[in-house]
Every structure is written in structure tokens, then in C-alpha cells.
């Protein structure tokens, strides 16, 4: 045996020992006992028993309706009549306070304030202001908690999106859904615990990238699984012609044997992950068709989400699919709807985008509620930042645009553990700065984890010599929105 090979064998033994030791200690807790069929990091990685909520969760599952491109808060939920009064006047320097601007408006000579072209009205018992763009969301406003004071650190799409999804702007960390899968495990082992659904609106679009649903340094088992937006949401699920389910089973059993042998030789945990993935795909062959068959939807469901819920790849179809996936125990369903980047042509873009999302978003809330699922499902709606109160480019009678604004914007949350019918936080009259109750992205993450039964300070993973968290070294619970 030459020296190199000796070194290799020694390493294998060491790795084996560590893996086994980890599992041994971790399995002392009841939680881990139940999840031995899953691959979790060894106990040294985390402060928590993995695969089970740390304390009684208020929500079991999340559906995140991400509005990609950043919808304007000033045309949706943050009503600022002063902007209409001061339409065309210059943004006072005392309000802007030297805020950094994007390259798109930094060289603009003037910053004329621009009021919303859409009217606002108060709705529901909570009396929350909602713009006329969202008549359906307005009808469920008493189920929503609108946060008007979320703020972010990034001013461009990619870093802002990455920050929202992974807690860091650079994009090398696990995403929210991966952390959930890592911390809570899967409810339904026949489906991925983290699914991603994409749709594109007709407004000015911005891309989404796979780094937004990455597992980062966590086990690849926790990566988000993107469903295709075509007629077959999960490709290659059908058996090849001439092969039946039994022979597929036999083939997989043989393959698993080979893989198990290979694992015993090399000890690479990725081999076990692969065995699990094959097994899950096999069960997905039954589980997925049950979910994605839209042909049997009742008339009432179609009216609830809008007619486009039957067209695969639309936002409405994704909302309906999200409800079904969530109902079937998928921990984290992440939707992205593109097209909210309204630098110019705001009026038309917003109208088209609202037409896509309003009915389906509200429909999802109503649908979860009527099935008794809203109290255990957390629904989140919002973009990566807000938009400026001043106009980008020229204001004319019919059109205007808004640039990126990180200092305040509106999102809403509803369902599991969220106080319904609440408007949280206040912005100034210009809709530029936060006056009361700021919520940072880290605070948002901390709160979401809390609702899922995890203390954000304790869900950690050791990587490159230190422990990492979704909230890294920040994050305070937003108690005011927790029921």
C-alpha cells in the first residue's frame, strides 16, 4: 500500500467515525429517534435536535409569494396623500438625508415627488388602506398583517433578493427554505420539503437564479426543487415505455445495494443523499400526479383563483399548486412572480401585474381558510425592496416611474401565528423614512423561524470554522405581529 492510499484509507476511517459518532449522540433525543430515515448533520453541527420543532410551532408550513422586481409600496399598501398634494415638487433634502441612490437615478438633476395614480380606500374592520389595484386582497384584509416598515440593506435586485432569501447579500449561504428543511425536516417524505414555483408577469422583469433556493453549505437534500412551469411540473416522472413500476422498484433496490456498498467504502454522505433522492423520486411518481392534476378542479376553485389557475406556469396556477403542495406537507413553497420592476411605465405595468396576482393571492388565503389550514400555514407576500417617492425620468400626464428604495416598503403576512387585521409600523408622510417600528430583513427571518418553532439563535451549522445562522449575528423577534 503506497503512502497516498494509506492516507486516503485513514481519512475514510476518520470520516466514518465522525459520522457515526454524530448520529449516536444526536439520537438520544426523541426527535432524532424518529428521523433516522433522514440524513441530518451530526449533532456537532447544530445546537438543536434536528428534524423537529424546538418548541410548539404556530405555523407548520410556509407559502412565500415573492413579488420579484419590487412592487411599489406607494401604489399598494402605504397610502401617502401628501405625495399627491406635492406632486412634481422637489424631494426635500431633509427627508432624503443623503440616502445612496442607484446608478439609474443618481445622476438625475431633480427628484420630483410623485403621487400614486391609483386611489386608496380603507377596508375591513381593521380599516387598513389598500389601493384599488388589489380589490381582492382588500376583501381579505382582516386576515392580513401588513408590515409597512420593512427595510433592507441592498439597493439592487440581485443582492436584495439574495439577502431576503439567504440572510446575506453575497449568495453563498443556504436559503430560508433550506434552513427550514434542515431544522424541521420533511412532513411528507414523498415530496421535497422545499419546492420552488416560477412565473413571469407582463411588467418589466428581473431574473431569478438558482442561488436563491440553494442549500448553500447544508446537505444537498435541503435544496429547493424547482417545478417546471410547463404541463408537467416535474419532468421525467413517468417510467420509460416498457418498464413497469415493479421492474423500476427492482432496479432501484439493486442500485441502492451498490450505493450502500460504495458508502461503506468511501463514507461520503452525498452517497446516502443520493439513495434518499432515488427513493423519493420513486414515491413522487405517485405523489405528484395526485397534486398536479388540474382537470378536476371545481368551478368554485376556478373562480377563487381566477381562470388562469388552469394555465400551467401562471401565478394563479402556482398559487393553486402551492396550496396543494402545502396541504400535502411541503414545508416551504417558494413562489417567484417576476415583472414588478417599474422604473418607467409604472401605471400599465402595475395594472398588468395586479391583474396577475390580486385574485390568486387573495384566493389562496380564502382557500386555506375554508379548509381549516390557514392557522397552520404562514403566507408571506412581498418583494425585495420598495420604490422611491420621487419619479425616475420624466413625469407626464399618464406615466411615471419609480427607482429602487430600500429604506421602507410594505409586505404582508397571514395565517399561522400572525395577528390578523393589523397594520404594523409607520412611515413618514413622504413614504421615505420609517417613523415607528422598523423591521429589518433579519428581524423578519427571526420571526418566521420563531413561528415555525425554532429559535433563530440556535439553529446553526458549523462551516469553515464557525457556526452560521440564517440571521447570522442579528435579528430580533417582531413581537407586535405575533398572535
Amino acid at each position: 500500500m503506497d503512502n497516498q492510499e494509506k492516507q486516503f484509507r485513514l481519512n475514510v476511517t476518520r470520516r466514518h467515525f465522525l459520522t457515526k459518532a454524530g448520529l449516536g449522540f444526536g439520537s438520544a433525543a426523541l426527535g432524532s429517534m424518529l428521523f433516522k430515515d433522514q440524513l441530518f448533520g451530526s449533532s456537532e453541527q447544530s445546537n438543536l435536535p434536528l428534524g423537529v420543532a424546538q418548541f410548539a410551532p404556530k405555523a407548520k408550513r410556509i407559502i412565500y409569494l415573492f413579488q420579484n422586481g419590487a412592487p411599489s409600496q406607494l401604489e399598494t399598501f402605504d397610502y401617502k396623500p401628501l405625495l399627491n398634494k406635492m406632486h412634481g415638487e422637489e424631494l426635500p433634502a431633509s427627508i432624503r438625508m443623503g440616502q445612496r441612490l442607484t446608478g439609474m437615478t443618481a445622476n438625475q438633476e431633480k427628484f420630483p415627488l410623485v403621487g400614486s395614480t391609483f386611489n386608496f380606500a380603507q377596508h375591513g374592520q381593521s380599516g387598513a388602506w389598500v389601493s384599488e389595484l388589489f380589490p381582492n386582497m382588500a376583501s381579505v384584509v382582516d386576515d392580513l398583517c401588513i408590515i409597512k416598515t420593512i427595510h433592507t440593506e441592498a439597493i439592487n435586485h440581485d443582492p436584495a433578493l439574495t439577502f431576503f432569501q439567504t440572510g446575506a447579500q453575497q449568495g453563498n449561504r443556504p436559503s430560508m427554505g433550506a434552513w427550514m428543511s434542515y431544522g424541521l425536516g420533511s412532513e411528507n417524505s414523498n415530496l421535497p420539503s422545499y419546492c420552488v414555483l416560477l412565473s413571469r408577469g407582463r411588467g418589466n422583469g428581473q431574473g431569478v437564479y438558482s442561488k436563491l433556493w440553494t442549500n448553500g453549505f447544508l446537505d444537498s437534500l435541503h435544496q429547493g426543487v424547482v417545478f417546471s412551469s410547463g404541463e408537467d411540473p416535474v419532468l421525467y416522472l413517468n417510467n420509460p415505455s416498457g418498464q413497469d413500476r415493479k421492474s423500476r422498484r427492482d432496479m432501484l433496490d439493486q442500485l441502492a445495494q451498490f450505493n450502500a456498498e460504495s458508502f461503506s467504502q468511501f463514507g461520503d454522505p452525498e452517497i446516502n443523499a443520493r439513495i434518499q433522492q432515488y427513493e423519493m423520486s420513486y414515491r413522487m411518481q405517485s405523489a405528484v400526479p395526485e397534486l398536479t392534476d388540474l382537470s378536476k378542479e371545481s368551478d368554485s376553485t376556478i373562480k377563487l383563483y381566477g381562470a388562469d389557475c388552469l394555465v400551467p406556469g401562471t401565478y394563479a396556477a402556482n398559487c393553486l399548486l402551492a396550496r396543494k403542495l402545502s396541504e400535502s406537507g411541503v414545508r416551504f413553497v417558494q413562489l417567484y412572480h417576476q415583472g414588478w420592476d417599474t422604473h418607467g411605465n409604472l401605471k400599465n405595468d402595475m395594472l398588468m401585474q395586479a391583474e396577475d396576482v390580486d385574485r390568486a393571492s387573495a384566493g389562496l388565503i380564502k382557500d386555506l381558510k375554508q379548509r381549516g389550514l390557514l392557522d397552520e400555514t404562514l403566507v408571506i407576500w412581498g418583494g425585495e425592496f420598495g420604490r422611491t417617492n420621487y419619479c425616475q425620468g420624466k413625469i407626464d400626464a399618464v406615466n411615471y416611474g419609480r427607482d429602487h428604495h430600500p429604506k421602507c416598503f410594505s409586505i404582508w403576512m397571514a395565517g399561522g401565528g400572525i395577528k390578523p387585521g393589523v397594520v404594523y409600523g409607520e412611515t413618514d408622510e413622504f413614504g421615505y423614512n420609517i417613523v415607528k417600528d422598523p423591521v429589518s430583513v433579519h428581524d423578519f427571518h427571526a420571526t418566521v423561524l420563531h413561528l415555525m418553532g425554532i429559535n433563530h439563535e440556535q439553529l446553526t451549522y458549523r462551516h469553515l470554522g464557525r457556526r452560521y445562522r440564517l440571521t447570522d449575528i442579528a435579528g430580533e423577534l417582531v413581537k407586535g405581529i405575533i398572535a
Binding site: 433525543a29 426523541l30 426527535g31 429517534m33 424518529l34 433516522k36 438543536l48 435536535p49 423537529v52 420543532a53 424546538q54 418548541f55 410548539a56 410551532p57 412532513e187 411528507n188 417524505s189 414523498n190 413571469r200 407582463r202 422583469g205 431574473g207 410547463g230 414515491r283 405517485s286 405523489a287 395526485e290 371545481s298 368551478d299 368554485s300 376556478i302 373562480k303 377563487l304 381562470a307 388562469d308 388552469l310 394555465v311 401562471t314 396541504e327 400535502s328 406537507g329 418607467g344 411605465n345 385574485r359 384566493g363 380564502k366 382557500d367 381558510k369 375554508q370 379548509r371 381549516g372 389550514l373 392557522d375 395577528k419 417600528d437 418553532g453 413581537k479 407586535g480 405575533i482 398572535a483
Partner: protein, 719 residues
């Protein structure tokens, strides 16, 4: 007596004299460094406790062998150290007492018993050396231990509070707000409960940190060392508020860092209350609703009541092995949380379900609080199985095959809170039998036999339960249809003989389309019945129409017939770096880009004019060349000013065989993909070169006037 022992003995005498001296002098003005030594008291005090207690067994051993000198000597040393430890602990205690505020009475007893213990320990040392008679010795040892025990108890009461040892479990609970009556004062309704939950552990009648006792209105009003806790009507001058709003890192911030903090709402409550007088008289009822204070009282009370503690269960956890043996991919048993005995059971995959799968869970029936059978083919026969789960709180039967026949058997599930039967054949009669369930709060009835009138009746008859029938579509509301789309949306390049099929997912929808570039409407257009036979380029604009729905918008798809395929393609000029991913091959890969996404599947030219060569080894006959070009005038993407086609057998002998000058937009036009067809001199070519010139100076009307425009190409066809 050894030298060692005599040193200890002498130091003891000095220390004890000093100790007794300290008992009688006022220590309030000690230099801080000396006072700091007092902080060692908690560290030292456990030593004499242990040593003194162990003295008893050691004495018994020594007594058994009275002649053994070694044992005797050891015991002498032992006792001297016990006395030393007791004395040092007492000294520390005396110094510590000077720096902090404690309940004077308890402190008095603790001080004197501590000092006595030290004195007795010292006495024991002499008694043992002098071999006094056993009665005196025994009495001294016993009284030393008893004094020490009682003294320690007083000490514990000082630091942990008087009621630390009492077995009142209520103490652990969150502070409860008294119910509101028309006589409840603001102080009682909210101020006192908040003080109680956040301040009183340190500021009570016993502990009085900083001299402040907040356990009653009077003592609180009197304040502490720095003066009154609040000044009626003036929150700015009130120390109570000041301490709450100080920076967290400030030492004076209250409650101290690490303790439960006051919420912003609670701080505002104190501010407003003090502003309104800070008295004990104002009742909640006397304040008008419009006043902020009233609002704060109510919301602080509400916030606390909703932050309920997690429910605890008094049943035992199930055996982990039992749970593990029941767990499989089709029946998932999960604990509510780590270390919680409560379990939920959920079933997956219809074809794997049988009533037996549920029956097998009876070994954990005590622990199961949630069962989810949604979508499973479970029928009425499962209800009798379900009623054995006595602790069941949440039951989901959505979409199951139950008819409601056995539903009344669920009356045994006394703890049931939520029942979901959406999408089943359940009727209101069978449901009414459940109204006697004491805990039942919500029943979800969407899409069942229960109509709106029956639901209303249930809601009035059994008002403690929320009977929810969910969304009922408004028959009069007409929604907009979605537009139709090609069956194969991604394939807009057609094989010879392939037809264009359109579809709409909703049954009963008719599709109307045009092929001439005009928009279909109620007059214009043809109804779609069979797939459309395409031309070389076919533009299909279509819409959908159905009774009871509003017409859809239109969709616009352009289809291309697959032409003669070149063997290879070469880029003779480079596209811009961000828009060259697909390379030359992308122009002939039979995959079209999307109008709305120029970042993918397109080549974008700006600094260089597009120039590409195409090779055909078998020199086919070519008479037409077609370019698919993007138009997005807002983003500076225009058609080329000129397209030049060269042909020949290779790049050196190729000659111009056709040119084309597209019409350029003179205003902003909708985004589109435009096919430009160029007729070329018919012939057999091995090589064809295409050049497309972009606008070098954008016209005046455009916001980028004077700048270069882009040319975007995604595919090239040869016919």
C-alpha cells in the same frame, strides 16, 4: 500544637475581633474597593456550610478511635479550617450588606446567625483541642449546625426572595390581569400587573434594590435612593420612565440587560399614565376611548393575553420505538415539538391508505392530538376508530369519502377543537350532533352538502362554534378568461407538415383567431376547430370566449417553418459580452428566444455590426433568407437599417445576392419579434454570409438620441 495550627489560630482571633467590630459600625461609607471584597461572600459561604456539616461524621470516626493521634490531629486541622472559612464568609457578608439594599429584618437575623456560626466554629476548635466533656462538645456542634442552617435560610431568602421555597406553582405563571369592572383603576388594570411581571422580583418589600419597592402604589410613589419613582403629570422628570428608555448598554437601564424588557407599548403606557397624573384613582372607564392612555391599557392587556404560554400535556410520551415502528412514508407521526409528548398523524398517498393504517395507531391513541386524513379514501367506517383518540384536538377529513353517517360517534372526542370536512358529502343534520362537544370551536364546511342557509342556521343555533362554509362564488360576477395558447408553447419552429394546435384549459371555451395580424374581436376572426395549416411564417393572434365569462385578452404567436439546415455557423463579429452566450450555433439551433427576455437565447449587437457566416456542405438551392429580429424601442432595440446577404462557395468568393432595408419605427412601438424575409438570387450555395447594420445614431424623438441602437437576433432560416 504545630506552628501551622497556631498561625491559623492567631489569625482567627484577629479576624474574629475585626468581625465583631464590623457588626457595630456603620459601613455605608466604605471605599469601593473594600466594599467589592464583599462580593466574595456568595463564593465563600458554601465552604463553612459543607465543612461544618461534615464535621459530624468526622467526629464520630475520631470518637471511635480516641487513642489515634493521627486522626485527632487531622480533625484539629479540619476544625481550624472550618472556623477560618466561617469567619471569612461572615466578614464578606458584613461588607456585602453595606453595599446593597435588603430587607432589614431578614438581614438582621442572617448577620447575627452568620457571626454566631463563625464564633461557634472557632469555639469547637478549642473544645476539641482541650478535650472538654462530651455533653458540652455535642451541644456546641449541634447548635453550630442549627445556627448555620437557619442563618443560611435567611441568606437564601435575601437573594432569592421569601417565597422561593414555597410550593405555589402559580408563581411561575405569567402575571394575570384582573378582570375589568367599572371601578378598576388604570393602576390596577395595567400598571401594577406590568410592574409585577417585569420589576417586582428585584424591587419588592424584601429586596428593595436601590431602595425602591414597587410592590404597592404607596411604596412605589415614595421611590428609592434617587428620589420619587415618578412625578405626577411629568414623565420627563420621572426616574421610572427615564430608566426604561435609557440605552440598553447603560448600566442604569431598567430592567437590567438580560432580564425581560418592557415593550414599547408598555413604556408608552407608563408615560401616558404619569402624564395623566400617575395616581391610583383614575378608573379605566372614566377615560374616553379617544385618549391614547385608554388605548394603551387595552392593548397592553390584549398583548399579554394573546402571548399565551405553550400548552402543556399531562399524558406520558409514547415509546419512541413504537412511534418509529409506525412511521413510514405513507403514515407520518410527528411530535408537536421536541420533548413534547403530543403527536400528530398524517397519511399520504391514496393508494397506500387503508382503515387498518389508522387502526394501527391505537397504541399511541393517548398521545395523538392531531389526525390528518385529507384526500385519503377513508369512509364512514373510520369514524368509530377515530373516537378512541380521546385527546384529539384537530381532525382533518377534507376530501375523504365520509358521508356523515357515523359522525355522531365523534362525540366521544371531548377535546376536539377543530374539525375540517371540506369537500365531503357531510350534511348539516349529521353535524348538528357534534354541537354538544365541549371544546369544539371551528368546523370547516366548504364544498359540502351544507348550503349558506343551513350554515347560517347552525351558526345561530350553536353560536359557540364557528361553522365556516368558505368561499361561495358570486354567480353574477363575470371574470375575464385567460387567452388561449399553443399546445406546444415552446415550439414555434414547425417541422414540414406540422400544424398549429391551440388550446384552452377550461371546458366550454371557444377560441377565435386571425392570421392577418389584426386583433380578433366579436366581429373579426375565425372560430378555431381544427389545427391551423401554417405558411412559411404564420402569425396567429387569438382570444378566448365563453358564456358567463368576459372575453380574454389576445395572445400573439409567430411560427416559422423549419428551413434548410446549415452544417455550421460562424460569428464574424462579436456580440456584446452579456448577449453572446448562445454563440453562432444559437442562430441555427431551432430554438427561438422570447420577446420579453432578451437575456436568454438571443445575440445582441451594438458596438459591432452583426456579421455571421453559414456553411452548407451539399450546396442546397436557396432562394430566401429570414432573420428573426427583436424590437424593444424603449430599451434601444431596433430593427437593422440594412440587411446584406452574400452567397458563394466560401467566404472569399461570396458576392451580394440580396439586400433589404427594413422600415424603422418613428415612435415607441410595442415589444415584438419581427421576421424579416429577404429574397435572394436563387442558386446553390455552400456559403452564405449575413450582415445586419444597427442604427448608429438614434433619431431625435428617442430618449437616447444620438446613441447607437442594438440589434438582437435569435434565429436565422434558409428556404
Amino acid at each position: 500544637m504545630s506552628k501551622h495550627l497556631s498561625i491559623i489560630s492567631n489569625s482567627l482571633i484577629v479576624l474574629q475581633v475585626f468581625m465583631i467590630f464590623l457588626c457595630f459600625v456603620d459601613l455605608s461609607a466604605l471605599p469601593p474597593l473594600i466594599a467589592y471584597i464583599g462580593k466574595l461572600h456568595p463564593l465563600l459561604l458554601h465552604l463553612p456550610i459543607t465543612l461544618l456539616l461534615l464535621a459530624l461524621p468526622l467526629y464520630l470516626i475520631q470518637n471511635k478511635y480516641p487513642e489515634n493521634d493521627v486522626l485527632k490531629n487531622i480533625f484539629s486541622f479540619y476544625l481550624s479550617y472550618t472556623a477560618l472559612a466561617a469567619t471569612l464568609a461572615a466578614l464578606g457578608g458584613l461588607l456585602l450588606a453595606s453595599g446593597e439594599e435588603y430587607n432589614a429584618n431578614t438581614l438582621f437575623w442572617h448577620k447575627w446567625m452568620g457571626v454566631t456560626t463563625a464564633l461557634i466554629a472557632h469555639g469547637l476548635m478549642y473544645l476539641q483541642q482541650a478535650r472538654y466533656n462530651k455533653v458540652i462538645w455535642n451541644t456546641a456542634l449541634f447548635s453550630g449546625i442549627v445556627t448555620m442552617a437557619i442563618g443560611s435560610h435567611f441568606g437564601g431568602s435575601l437573594t432569592h426572595g421569601e417565597d422561593f421555597l414555597s410550593l405555589d406553582l402559580q408563581q411561575e405563571e405569567e402575571v394575570s390581569f384582573p378582570p375589568l369592572s367599572n371601578k378598576t383603576t388604570v393602576y390596577d388594570a395595567a400598571i401594577h400587573p406590568v410592574l409585577q411581571s417585569k420589576c417586582i422580583t428585584c424591587h419588592n418589600s424584601q429586596k428593595k434594590k436601590g431602595g425602591l419597592d414597587l410592590s404597592s402604589f404607596e411604596t412605589g410613589f415614595k421611590g428609592g435612593k434617587t428620589g420619587a419613582a415618578w412625578v405626577s403629570g411629568d414623565p420627563d422628570k420621572s426616574i421610572l420612565v427615564e430608566r426604561m428608555i435609557l440605552n440598553m448598554d447603560d448600566k442604569k437601564h431598567m430592567p437590567p440587560k438580560g432580564k425581560a424588557q418592557l415593550s414599547e407599548q408598555e413604556i408608552m403606557l407608563f408615560t401616558e399614565w404619569i402624564k395623566a397624573g400617575g395616581d391610583q384613582k383614575a378608573t379605566v372607564q372614566s377615560i374616553p376611548d379617544s385618549i391614547l392612555l385608554k388605548n394603551l391599557v387595552m392593548s397592553v392587556r390584549a398583548a399579554s393575553s394573546t402571548e399565551k404560554k405553550a400548552k402543556t400535556y399531562d399524558f406520558k410520551a409514547a415509546d419512541a420505538k413504537t412511534i418509529q415502528s409506525l412511521n413510514n412514508p405513507f403514515r407520518r407521526i410527528l411530535p408537536l415539538a421536541n420533548n413534547s409528548p403530543a403527536l400528530s398523524v398524517k397519511f399520504y398517498l391514496k393508494e397506500q391508505f387503508s382503515a387498518n393504517a389508522l387502526k394501527e395507531c391505537q397504541s399511541i391513541r393517548e398521545q395523538v392530538i392531531e389526525i390528518n386524513l385529507s384526500g385519503m379514501p377513508a369512509d364512514d367506517n373510520i369514524i368509530p376508530i377515530l373516537n378512541e383518540f380521546k385527546n384529539l384536538e384537530k381532525l382533518n377529513l377534507n376530501g375523504t369519502a365520509i358521508t356523515g353517517k357515523n359522525l355522531s360517534a365523534l362525540k366521544a372526542n371531548k377535546k376536539l377543537v377543530q374539525l375540517s370536512v371540506a369537500g365531503t358529502q357531510v350534511d348539516s343534520k349529521s353535524l348538528a350532533s357534534l354541537s354538544s362537544l365541549p371544546s369544539l370551536k371551528q368546523v370547516y364546511l366548504w364544498n359540502t352538502k351544507v348550503g349558506p342557509e343551513e350554515a347560517a342556521k347552525l351558526n345561530t343555533s350553536y353560536a359557540s362554534i364557528k361553522w365556516d362554509i368558505g368561499f361561495i362564488p358570486d354567480k353574477a360576477e363575470r371574470l375575464k378568461l385567460t387567452a388561449p395558447y399553443p399546445v406546444n408553447r415552446d415550439k414555434t419552429i414547425l417541422e414540414p407538415g406540422e400544424k398549429i394546435a391551440l388550446k384552452h384549459p377550461l371546458p366550454g371555451v371557444k377560441i377565435k383567431y386571425t392570421l392577418d395580424g389584426t386583433a380578433p374581436d366579436s366581429v373579426n376572426g375565425i372560430f378555431y376547430s381544427t389545427p391551423i395549416t401554417p405558411e412559411k411564417v404564420t402569425r396567429v393572434i387569438s382570444m378566448s370566449v365563453a358564456d358567463g365569462w368576459l372575453n380574454s385578452g389576445t395572445t400573439d404567436y409567430t411560427f416559422f417553418a423549419k428551413g434548410i439546415a446549415p452544417d455550421s455557423a460562424t460569428l464574424l463579429t462579436l456580440p456584446e459580452p452579456k448577449y453572446r452566450k448562445i454563440g453562432a450555433a444559437g442562430l441555427i439551433d431551432l430554438s427561438k428566444g422570447e420577446t420579453g427576455n432578451l437575456g436568454l437565447y438571443w445575440l445582441g449587437f451594438r458596438e459591432n455590426q452583426m456579421k455571421a457566416g453559414f456553411h452548407f456542405s451539399n450546396a442546397p438551392m436557396i432562394k430566401e433568407v429570414m432573420l428573426s429580429i427583436a424590437q424593444n424601442t424603449q430599451s434601444y432595440v431596433f430593427p437593422p437599417t440594412m440587411i446584406i446577404i452574400k452567397g458563394g462557395s466560401n467566404s472569399t468568393d461570396a458576392k451580394i445576392i440580396g439586400t433589404f432595408k427594413p422600415t424603422l419605427p418613428d415612435k415607441h412601438l410595442p415589444n415584438a419579434t419581427l421576421p424579416f424575409s429577404i429574397a435572394v438570387k436563387e442558386g446553390n450555395y455552400k456559403y452564405i454570409e449575413i450582415e445586419a447594420k444597427n442604427i448608429q445614431k438614434l433619431p431625435k424623438w428617442h430618449n437616447g438620441k444620438g446613441e447607437k441602437a442594438w440589434v438582437f437576433v435569435d434565429e436565422v432560416f434558409f428556404y
